[in-house]
């Protein structure tokens, strides 16, 4: 099966390992992975700040880049949600709306793709530790992907999963919210870190780099002994 990877700008620049883990994982599961080099960003930073016209430029670019793809897979719930929003945002531009819809239809978040399309729940990963999973807001509420990551994690050998208290509360990232409304963001991320501690986990797993940079950055700043891992890296551990 041929898969086009949308790696997201955060992973491209900051979390390169997560990108490599995603490629290796998909290949191991039998996919042929291609990386369209002209890809940039899904447009969310501009869109969520109200710069819809500017976001539309990058959205149209992305539509062109992935036009030939069979499946577009991305290791980010939030960016997958954004690609799925394209037709809605471009609804007044008939030609683009149709092209956007075609992209939305073939776009999957990584764990969703593995479980729903490949039909695999046990990827043969091994990782020792006690972990908890952060349910990111866009992925659960807007994309509706709730079960897939948990199913995959439950099969990781050696990994004990603990429930995260108040998992429905946002971590306080919110893109530019984190720098525009820092004092509020701080309270929110502190509460999240506290929940992770209450969970009694030494690994925090998530499927969105934005949230993980936020929670992880706070964990590091506070010097807490909790490791933060993207789910692609967990599933690629052997």
């Amino acid at each position: 099966m041929k898969v086009s990877l949308f790696v997201t700008c955060l992973i491209d620049i900051f979390q390169t390992d997560v990108g490599m883990d995603t490629v290796e994982l998909l290949e191991r599961l039998g996919c042929e992975v291609e990386f369209p080099e002209k890809q940039t960003c899904c447009g969310q930073p501009a869109y969520n700040s109200g710069y819809v016209d500017k976001a539309k430029d990058s959205m149209k670019h992305m539509i062109r880049v992935f036009e030939q793809a069979d499946y577009v897979v991305t290791p980010s719930g939030s960016c997958a949600t954004m690609l799925k929003e394209y037709p809605h945002i471009l609804k007044d531009e008939t030609e683009w709306e149709a092209r956007a819809q075609a992209l939305a239809n073939k776009t999957y978040e990584l764990t969703q793709f593995i479980v729903e399309v490949l039909g695999i729940e046990d990827v043969g990963a091994k990782l020792k530790g006690t972990a908890t999973y952060h349910t990111s807001c866009h992925m659960t509420r807007l994309l509706g992907v709730k079960e897939a990551p948990l199913k995959l994690l439950s099969h990781v050998e050696g990994l004990e999963m603990k429930p995260l208290p108040h998992n429905y509360n946002c971590c306080g990232f919110g893109g530019t919210f984190s720098v525009k409304m820092t004092p509020i963001s701080e309270q929110m991320v502190d509460e999240k870190v506290q929940s992770v501690e209450e969970a009694g986990a030494d690994i925090l797993i998530g499927a969105d780099c934005g949230c993980l940079m936020n929670i992880g950055g706070r964990i590091d700043r506070k010097g807490k002994p909790i490791k933060v891992m993207h789910i692609a890296s967990v599933l690629n551990s052997r």
């Binding site: 700008c9 390169t16 080099e37 869109y47 819809v52 500017k54 807007l142 919110g174 919210f177 950055g217």
Partner: protein, 475 residues
């Protein structure tokens, strides 16, 4: 009290909120209770999503045909011998209400809970006219006794106070000498309020749903105070926002089911009061005279815009009860009697961007509100829409942000520019990084690194590593 509360700028209000440990404790525990209550009640009803869809359909049909239903309502109220007044503005509404009260030579007014009378600042107008106004909803009454402390929540207005604080308010203002036990506090309030009811000559209520087909006003309460307000005083005035209407009793039943479950997790509230015009011949109770004041005050400007669905709101506060931002800053931070997600959407529409432009940004767009809303208002999308209006129509975005967004679109709409930009990132940020993290960032990164570390950009981007790997594979 008008819609606006307090004079401090947004940042100060937020920091007051964050530093108020009592308030935050009270809010967090209330949010926990409301959340599980709502989920249980929804589950018990079964098919919650179907119910929400029905609720959405009812609200959108009604608001689409608002003029028709308002006319029908008005006709039916008049048929039963009531009076109807359409107020375009807050001033018009207050003028009319004051006129009625004066004509009746009213000295003492008792009120049941009503957000719209707060919005139009009715109490002050009546007090200026020499009238005493008594709030009879327990929460509102506590706030009134506490020197008009503003409400911080639309259903439980005194949510920011815990029982010890309420005891102290009663003690200081009314000589209360018992404990902070809720039963004792409530009993004390009830005794005080009973006296007021018996002396009041005018009753003023809000309105949860006006039923157009019969000209009925319905009120949803847990304390029964609305029943007292509508039976004892000889004259009753009901003030409603123009969108608070349903076509028939059937839709009212659906919406009340959604309202009570979404608001407090109850199947039904203790009281649902319905009043159809003044007392008719042969009826045992009810006011001798009934006035319905229908308030526009900016609402019709929302009709026909992309924000129209905010008029579907049934004021249940479910969105407020799940909001993680509200949880930490509390209601007063919003600077409006309408706080939380619904407030962040509605307040700028009624009060303008000059005063309230921060509110749409005080959200992570986590969509917890949208998920909780019983009539499926896409609240987080409305917040985005506000941001778009502020940036693109009003041109009110900060200059720096404008520039960086220009750079963003240059860098993301063109692969060549993205390539240059992302390649330069490690060099540009290199000065600030120690090992693989940045703890004191430049520009907008500073706010980030004030409270958390930021990863340093990698020397080789993913795309470089991927290329190398592909080449390696070929060799």
């Amino acid at each position: 009290m008008a819609m606006k509360i307090g004079d401090k700028p947004f940042k100060e209000r937020v920091s007051d909120g964050i530093n108020d440990a009592f308030m935050r404790g009270a809010v967090a525990s209330a949010q926990g209770r409301f959340r599980s209550g709502r989920l249980n009640a929804a589950e018990e009803l079964g098919n919650w999503e179907e119910w929400r869809k029905l609720g959405e359909e009812i609200r959108s049909h009604t608001i689409e045909n608002l003029d028709y239903y308002l006319e029908l309502l008005s006709e039916n109220v008049i048929k039963r011998g009531g009076h109807v007044f359409f107020a375009k503005t807050a001033e018009e509404a207050n003028e009319y209400i004051t006129k009625v009260v004066k004509e009746k030579n009213g000295k003492k007014v008792v009120k049941s809970k009503s957000m719209v009378t707060e919005e139009i600042n009715m109490n002050e107008a009546l007090e200026r006219a020499g009238c005493e106004v008594i709030e009879s909803d327990l929460g509102e009454w506590i706030l009134q006794v506490d020197d008009h402390d503003p409400p911080s929540h639309i259903v439980t207005p005194a949510l920011h106070k815990n029982k010890e604080q309420i005891r102290d308010v009663f003690k200081e203002k009314l000589g209360y000498d018992k404990t902070e036990k809720p039963e004792e506090l409530a009993l004390f309030a009830r005794e005080k309020l009973r006296e007021e009811f018996l002396q009041a000559d005018i009753g003023i209520t809000g309105c949860n749903f006006a039923i157009a087909e019969s000209g009925t006003i319905s009120l949803v309460t847990n304390e029964g105070n609305a029943r007292m307000v509508t039976t004892i005083p000889k004259t009753q005035i009901t003030v409603m926002g123009m969108e608070r209407i349903v076509p028939t009793w059937e839709e009212m039943e659906v919406l009340v089911s959604l309202l009570t479950r979404a608001a407090v997790g109850q199947k039904l509230t203790s009281y649902i009061t319905a009043l159809t015009g003044p007392r008719q011949e042969g009826e045992a109770d009810g006011p001798e005279e009934f006035h319905l004041v229908i308030v526009d005050n900016g609402r019709s400007n929302i009709l026909g815009t992309a924000f129209q669905s905010i008029l579907h709101c049934i004021r249940c506060a479910a969105c407020i009860n799940v909001c993680p931002v509200y949880r930490h800053v509390g209601g007063h931070s919003y600077g409006s009697i309408y706080p939380g997600p619904v407030g962040a959407v509605l307040t700028p529409l009624l009060g303008g961007y000059d005063e309230y432009k921060e509110l749409p940004y005080a959200s992570t767009l986590c969509a917890a509100c949208t998920e909780a809303c019983p009539v499926k208002i896409p609240l987080h999308e409305h917040l985005l829409r506000h941001r778009q209006e502020i940036v693109e129509k009003e041109g009110k975005a900060p200059v720096f942000e404008n520039l960086s967004m220009k750079a963003f679109s240059l860098g993301t709409a063109s692969p060549a520019m993205y390539n240059i930009g992302s390649k330069l990132a490690p060099t540009a940020l290199g000065f600030f990084s120690a090992d693989d993290k940045i703890s004191k960032g430049p520009g907008p990164l500073k706010n980030w690194t004030d409270i958390r570390d930021f990863p340093a950009p990698k020397k080789n981007r993913f795309r470089d590593l991927y290329k190398k790997r592909q080449k390696g594979g070929e060799e």
